[in-house]
């Protein structure tokens, strides 16, 4: 029986494929490549409607200095109350907190760079825009990596390049004074929890190996209480939940997200529940942030290529549908 089957299969001759059937994949891929490539040479100005999710994140970062001023007033009032009650322990804690808050009057932002080269085309433009925005407003930047150690060098390069770029909006920033990159430590959830107690004890040294106790920026930062916003740029599903759990639910910090387009849809419910301040979704989110910041970057440039690629996709869908109905019509006639 088996021999018979083998004989049958060996004599099977596949139907002859037409030229189109043999080459359609190569043609479609080449067309997609050309569409993207053509988009890069276009300098047509693009106007993007900025979504409320992007606006939410932009406004949250923009208002960091204001949030810091409010925090200082709040702590001052608590200190006054503690002094009236003569609660020595609280007085010491609050005066230490106040001293730290006053060291960075424009506030502090923590950006978690959880992306690797495979998701960098979408998330790198977001990282650059957020860093530019923070540096422009004099906000001190803490950077870290939570999930994948491979992201660390990529993140370090992005921070260094952005901090030292020549810009009309801000002077070149100094490592250890205006920003610090903490790098990676294993087991993100435990590290984030420990950061709520002390960031210095969680990391001990920065990515370059400098003792955090010796860095001027760390004199004003002890834990989440000294940070206004926590922003996660992630290509990994599951990481935002950890940040929302720890930074927002446990320590009451404002959390913002920048996600790859693939995973962005999962996190819109957190905007509605006000558990995140805003969300940047893929390259489009990055381009919207650049529009809001009025600083052209690779997000907007990339959206031109997206436009051409999407136009091609729509055209192919239309052609596919026409072909489907035509062949159906032909079959019926036969």
């Amino acid at each position: 029986m088996n021999d018979k089957n083998n004989k049958e299969s060996s004599t099977f001759i596949p139907p002859k494929k037409s030229w189109w059937e043999r080459n359609y994949r190569a043609i479609i891929y080449s067309a997609a490549f050309l569409a993207v490539f053509a988009g890069m040479f276009s300098d047509k100005p693009m106007t993007l409607n900025v979504s409320s999710a992007t606006k939410g994140l932009y406004n949250s970062v923009e208002s960091i200095p204001e949030k810091r001023r409010k925090s200082i007033i709040e702590v001052e009032e608590k200190l006054k109350e503690a002094k009236e009650k003569k609660d020595d322990k609280k007085i010491r804690e609050l005066s230490e907190h106040l001293a730290r808050l006053k060291l960075n009057t424009n506030g502090v932002i923590l950006i978690c760079f959880d992306f690797d080269p495979s998701t960098a085309p979408e998330l790198k433009p977001m990282a650059i825009s957020l860093l530019r925005h923070a540096f422009k407003n004099g906000v001190k930047v803490l950077g870290n990596v939570g999930y994948n150690v491979i992201s660390a060098q990529l993140a370090q390069n992005i921070i260094e390049e952005t901090a030292h770029e020549s810009s009309d909006n801000f002077q070149p920033q100094k490592a250890g004074n205006d920003y610090v990159f903490l790098g990676y430590r294993p087991n993100p959830f435990m590290v984030y929890m420990q950061m709520g107690e002390s960031i210095i004890s969680a990391y001990e040294s920065d990515y370059a190996g400098n003792d955090l106790n010796t860095l001027p920026i760390m004199k004003g930062i002890n834990n989440y209480g000294d940070i206004e916003d926590v922003i996660l740029l992630s290509g990994y599903v599951g990481m935002p939940e950890i940040w929302i759990n720890v930074a927002k639910t446990k320590f009451g910090r404002s959390v913002g997200l920048g996600m790859t387009a693939v995973s962005a849809a999962d996190y819109y419910p957190y905007i509605q529940s006000k558990q995140i301040a805003g969300l940047l979704a893929g390259l489009r989110g990055a381009a919207e942030y650049e529009t809001e910041l009025k600083a052209l970057g690779s997000g907007i440039k990339g959206m031109r290529s997206q436009l051409y690629a999407h136009a091609l996709a729509i055209l192919l869908i239309i052609i596919g549908n026409i072909e489907f109905f035509v062949s159906k019509f032909r079959k019926r006639r036969k």
């Binding site: 660390a152 060098q153 106790n213 010796t214 529940s273 290529s305």
Partner: protein
């Protein structure tokens, strides 16, 4: 971006060629694609191991243990001399200029406990090399100058310093416990390696249980609060949204659609009931429609993401490879 050196340029060319090798899969599976795949996996694993050692094992285990052993051998009197010298310097630079102020200073309350904690924290840091007197002096200076403790009462400060020096040990009890904890953690982590032996693989359940126990214990309440309570709270909304007395129709429509969506999708996933009556079937169909809209949005986002990755690669080829090479050779 212009490559600065010939090595940078070579790196860009290698990246460009590997990109072509990967894209060659679109035509047909071939040797170059497989080679690139193997290079990617090998380099990633090698890089991962080195970075994990540099960022995890080295700062968290190796460095503290080496420093601990090193500090055990440090001469106690050398450290106490530095402490006295630094306190004397601090006192002399903060001493009031006249006798009247000096008398007033004596009345200022001094937090001795806080001072001891400050000294212990400064000298007990795992990163501090007690044999390096310059480093110790710098750490003490920083700690004294930046402390929020009120240390204007220099007489009490001097007295407390004497007391502190008498009880000072180069390695404190808390440091001993900390080192014991590091060794325990290291041993527990090593138990994972028992999985290589099928006979002893069960031992790896201990560190696994420890990790899961702590992880679940800490994450469960937070997860419940964020993903269940938070989301339920956000779903309890008024059907009709009013702004200064008049109905906001757009928001009201949004709220109704949210409520209908939640109920219908939940009902669709309720498999314990036979959905034969028209109402059930209708509600299920609405649930399916909501799900399809969600999947459609996700799929559209996926296409956008994949095109973004292609854009990233094409941008690299244009800007760094072609233009970078042209610029490097000065054209």
């Amino acid at each position: 971006m212009t490559p600065d050196t010939f090595i940078d340029l070579t790196g860009i060319w290698v990246a460009a060629l590997l990109t072509f090798c990967v894209f060659s899969f679109l035509i047909k599976d071939n040797f170059m694609f497989k080679l690139t795949e193997a290079i990617f996996v090998g380099v990633s694993v090698g890089y991962f191991i080195v970075l994990t050692y540099q960022n995890g094992i080295k700062p968290k285990i190796e460095k503290p243990l080496i420093k601990y052993v090193h500090n055990l051998k440090v001469d106690k009197s050398a450290v106490t001399n530095t402490i006295v010298a630094e306190i004397n310097y601090f006192v002399s630079s903060n001493k009031p200029t006249n006798d009247l102020q000096l008398a007033a200073v004596e009345q200022i309350p001094f937090n001795e406990n806080g001072f001891f904690i400050l000294m212990n924290e400064t000298l007990g840091r795992s990163s501090l090399d007690l044999a390096d007197q310059k480093q110790v002096a710098m750490a003490l200076q920083n700690a004294l100058n930046n402390s929020t403790l009120n240390m204007k009462n220099i007489f009490a400060l001097e007295k407390s310093t004497e007391k502190y020096i008498k009880s000072y040990k180069t390695v404190s009890l808390s440091r001993n416990l900390w080192v014991a904890y590091i060794i325990f953690s290291l041993l527990l982590g090593l138990l994972f390696l028992s999985r290589f032996s099928p006979k002893h693989a069960w031992v790896s359940r201990y560190p696994m249980a420890y990790l899961l126990g702590i992880g679940v214990g800490m994450a469960m309440p937070l997860n419940f609060q964020t993903q269940i309570l938070g989301q339920i709270q956000a779903s309890i909304i008024p059907v009709v949204h009013t702004v200064s007395g008049s109905i906001d129709w757009a928001k009201t429509f949004g709220n109704i659609s949210l409520i209908v969506g939640i109920l219908s999708v939940l009902y669709y996933f309720f498999f314990s009931l036979k959905k034969t009556d028209p109402f059930s079937r209708g509600l299920t169909k609405i649930g399916i429609a909501y799900l399809m809209i969600g999947f459609g949005a996700s799929f559209a986002f996926t296409i956008m993401a994949r095109v973004s990755l292609l854009i990233g690669r094409v941008e690299f080829m244009k800007e760094e490879w072609i233009m970078g090479t042209i610029r490097y050779f000065g054209y």
